[in-house]
């Protein structure tokens, strides 16, 4: 197999070596006006691990994910990605917010797959995949093109490189979005309910791609309603409700023998 960006990203993880968590969230709080969406979240993901965040709508799952790549600014608490404090620099015993440019630079260590795909509508599938490598990371066009085509092949969309998003089905668009996320070789891949906007028969093609990525050792933080995916693929499951992590641990334990009544009630409804 030729050396694809995915393969290299995997090498990077296995070479990581140390025990340092890839994502470390401590005491994270977020309020929107009066509404307290996150009330002190603690969560760690080790390198190469897959963490699934489950929970009812409005429990703060998506907000948590959006704090990790700074689409939202947390009100309190701290996030470290691969040991680097997200959003601030500490100086003179105080935290100073980073400038938009510095935040943009920090975001390069993560990539996000959105519920509604969010492909750039005026660009082809291939151009979408090439966008970040060429215009953010300064990868030469030819190389980005070659790698972009390899990634599209990887998600089974090689023949659709020249199609615009409007010409693709939801499942195809989401697979392009995953290829786009992989193109920057992120240290952490964030998935925000990647299958919730898809027709039932298109869900599996996206989950299959995500399962492959998990097997290859990418660090993934996945907000999802797909209990079966969490059970089969996740290393750790976090169950959130009302802005806190109610229960976490091994998927078999949390999903098959939940210790918390809230988790039991949720699982009864979705299973």
């Amino acid at each position: 197999m030729p050396e694809t960006p995915v393969a290299r990203a995997t090498d990077q993880h296995t070479a990581h070596g140390s025990d340092r968590p890839m994502v470390e969230i401590a005491g994270l709080c977020k309020t929107f006006g009066e509404h307290r969406v996150l009330r002190g979240i603690d969560l760690t993901v080790a390198p190469g691990q897959v963490a699934c965040i489950l929970g009812p709508s409005g429990s703060g799952k998506s907000t948590l994910l959006r704090c990790v790549n700074q689409l939202e600014t947390s009100t309190d608490g701290a996030i470290h990605i691969d040991g680097e404090l997200v959003g601030y620099r500490v100086q003179g015993g105080r935290r100073h917010a980073l400038s938009p440019r510095q935040i943009a630079r920090q975001r390069r260590s993560t990539a996000m797959v959105f519920q509604r795909f969010n492909l750039l509508a005026h660009q082809t599938a291939l151009a979408n995949v090439m966008e970040a490598p060429v215009h953010v990371h300064g990868v030469p066009r030819d190389r980005a093109r070659e790698e972009g085509l390899a990634l599209l092949d990887r998600v089974g969309l090689g023949p659709y490189a020249d199609h615009y998003p409007a010409q693709l089905s939801g499942g195809q668009q989401q697979r392009v979005a995953i290829a786009r996320a992989l193109a920057v070789r992120p240290r952490v891949l964030l998935f925000d309910e990647p299958t919730s906007a898809l027709d039932p028969e298109l869900v599996d093609e996206v989950l299959a791609v995500m399962t492959d990525l998990a097997r290859e050792g990418l660090t993934m933080l996945v907000v999802t309603h797909e209990i079966a995916f969490a059970r089969d693929v996740a290393d750790t499951v976090f169950f959130m409700d009302g802005g806190v992590v109610v229960e976490s641990g091994d998927p078999a334990q949390v999903l098959n023998a939940p210790s918390h009544e809230r988790t039991r009630a949720f699982l009864r409804r979705v299973l």
Partner: protein
């Protein structure tokens, strides 16, 4: 019908073998057409047999040097007013959408002023500016001056007209561009932001290409408006197209034929602009569902061949 005729009907396109569907005849269409044809005949009769209309005068002045000079001024005013207005409008849009409350307030006020003062008032204001501000000087506010000019030297008739049109257009263009920017899908902006693009790159790579496409039709409306509104400059004696035909008919009293001359040229410019608009829209429509369908068709034809 087909089944009663007994003959084996051609069921090639109707595997069911049921009666064919008769096309619907819209009898009222003939009535509409007849009315329109009668009206057109009356108009032709009026134009061709009415000696007072004096059509030869129309042909005589259509390419008259005075008329063509006036047309040149009208086009210059339209282009300069649109360019000036668009540049100012872009600045106002950027300020309006910025995170700074001060800049937002400045932009809001400027847009309000630009759209509130009638074009005619603005034109006369800039033309008569010298009466309240005889000299324009550049320097440190409340401090020393570096250069200074006679106001009337800097702002002549053409200058006053271009300033007035630019300021008049700026408010409208700012709102056109703001609506274009706001029409861009927030999700795409977030996706680009999440990639690690700086806000400026997000604007350049994602927002602008899509906002520009949305803004073309209203912008073209604006160009056509400015083309026609520019005729107010006859009030400060600037010789545009309208001024020229008026100057001619005030001498020969052939008002209608000369107004038709002006109408012809305004109409021709609008036709050119309309062609430009449709070309621009085609160019910028990549990824639109309609363009996508078109492209799909091309791909299919390619694979068939």
């Amino acid at each position: 019908m087909a089944s009663r005729a007994g003959a084996p009907a051609d069921t090639g396109s109707r595997p069911s073998g049921l009666e064919p569907i008769a096309p619907r005849v819209r009898w009222q269409e003939f009535l509409y057409l007849a009315v329109v044809l009668v009206l057109l005949a009356m108009l032709a009769n009026f134009v061709l047999t009415n000696e007072r209309l004096n059509l030869p005068v129309f042909w005589e002045y259509l390419f008259h040097p005075l008329v063509l000079d006036g047309l040149r001024i009208t086009v210059i005013l339209t282009v300069a007013g649109m360019v000036g207005g668009t540049v100012l409008g872009l600045a106002l849009t950027a300020m309006r959408l910025s995170s700074s409350p001060t800049l937002r307030a400045v932009s809001f006020t400027a847009i309000y002023v630009s759209r509130t003062i009638p074009l005619l008032v603005q034109l006369l204001f800039w033309f008569f500016l010298a009466s309240v501000l005889p000299r324009i000087s550049f320097g440190i506010p409340f401090g020393p001056e570096f250069v200074s000019f006679e106001t009337n030297e800097v702002i002549n008739q053409l200058g006053a007209a271009i300033i007035a049109l630019s300021l008049f257009v700026a408010g409208y263009m700012a709102e056109i561009m703001r609506s274009g920017v706001m029409s861009v899908d927030r999700g795409q902006v977030e996706a680009a932001t999440a990639m690690g693009m700086t806000p400026l790159s997000v604007f350049r790579r994602v927002v602008f290409p899509q906002a520009a496409r949305i803004s073309i039709p209203p912008t073209m409306n604006q160009v056509i408006s400015v083309l026609k509104y520019s005729s107010v400059v006859i009030l400060i004696g600037l010789a545009d197209l309208m001024y020229s035909v008026q100057a001619i008919y005030s001498r020969n009293f052939q008002q209608i034929p000369l107004l038709l001359v002006a109408t012809f040229w305004y109409g021709l410019v609008v036709v050119v602009l309309t062609v430009v608009q449709s070309q621009l829209e085609k160019r910028l429509s990549t990824g639109l569902p309609k363009a996508a369908r078109q492209r799909m068709k091309e791909l299919e034809e390619k694979t068939d061949a």
